[in-house]
Amino acid sequence: MARLDERAFASCYQHNSRALWSYLYRVTGRASDADDLVQDVFCRLLQAEVGALADEELRRYVFRIGSNLLADRWRRATQEASWLDRLRGTTDAHVDPEYDDSVSREFAALKPRERALLWLAYVEGESHEDIAKALGLSRGSIKVLLSRARGRLRGLLMAKGVTARA
């Protein structure tokens, strides 16, 4: 299988970069992180032999790379946080001030993995199998984790008196 040529890459970037950025921004809560991650994703995409993939498969592949990079970042953040915990007794949960707006406040209160699950399921409309591949989880666990994330979001929406139909 060949790599993407420049024209195919430009087309893929044009079609998927904004959607990918939104996903990464909503999961990380930081615009600068999302900017960096999008660049990393597309640089990695160019090293992969994906030239024969159809547009939809390519989009899923791009989101899978993004989710893998997010998982790496969480692992590193957890390790660093444990060191910070030991040193200072606290951790920095740093998100952009703009992130915590009236629409996204409840979403921001979820765990990053829950945010990723809900985004991939509802916004990207991905199947449980594709979500499992993207997040490196078993297919069987997705239904349970997704239900749990839905339940948490529903609880947050109810607690804040936010109704989607209001």
Binding site: Q14, W21, A31, F42, Q47, L118, W119, V123, R150
Partner: protein, 92 residues
């Protein structure tokens, strides 16, 4: 707990969450994305790949560098040891 959630999640709840996620997807973040143009990213990716290839080629040389230095020091020591009597004669 999970089974309870599955049982109690009604179609209305599902609809509300779907509608909320839809609103979230369309809500634009305050500052927006700062992404480079595709051609800029293409050049960046090519450069990164070239640097990575150079790093791979250079890696064995870098790994051997301490051995080169050690071998040089040993050779200098041996040379000094052999030439020390002659050197002493010249000095005296």
């Amino acid at each position: 707990m999970v089974e309870w959630l599955l049982r109690t999640m009604s179609a209305d709840d599902e609809h509300e969450i779907a509608a909320y996620m839809s609103r979230l997807a369309t809500a634009s973040p305050g500052h927006g994305a700062r992404l480079p143009a595709a051609d800029v990213l293409w050049v960046k990716a090519q450069m990164l790949e070239r640097w990575e290839a150079e790093r791979r080629v250079q890696a064995p040389l870098d790994a051997m560098e301490p051995f080169q230095i050690a071998a040089g020091l040993v050779a200098a020591g041996i040379l000094l040891f052999w030439s020390l009597p002659a050197l002493m004669r010249v000095i005296s």
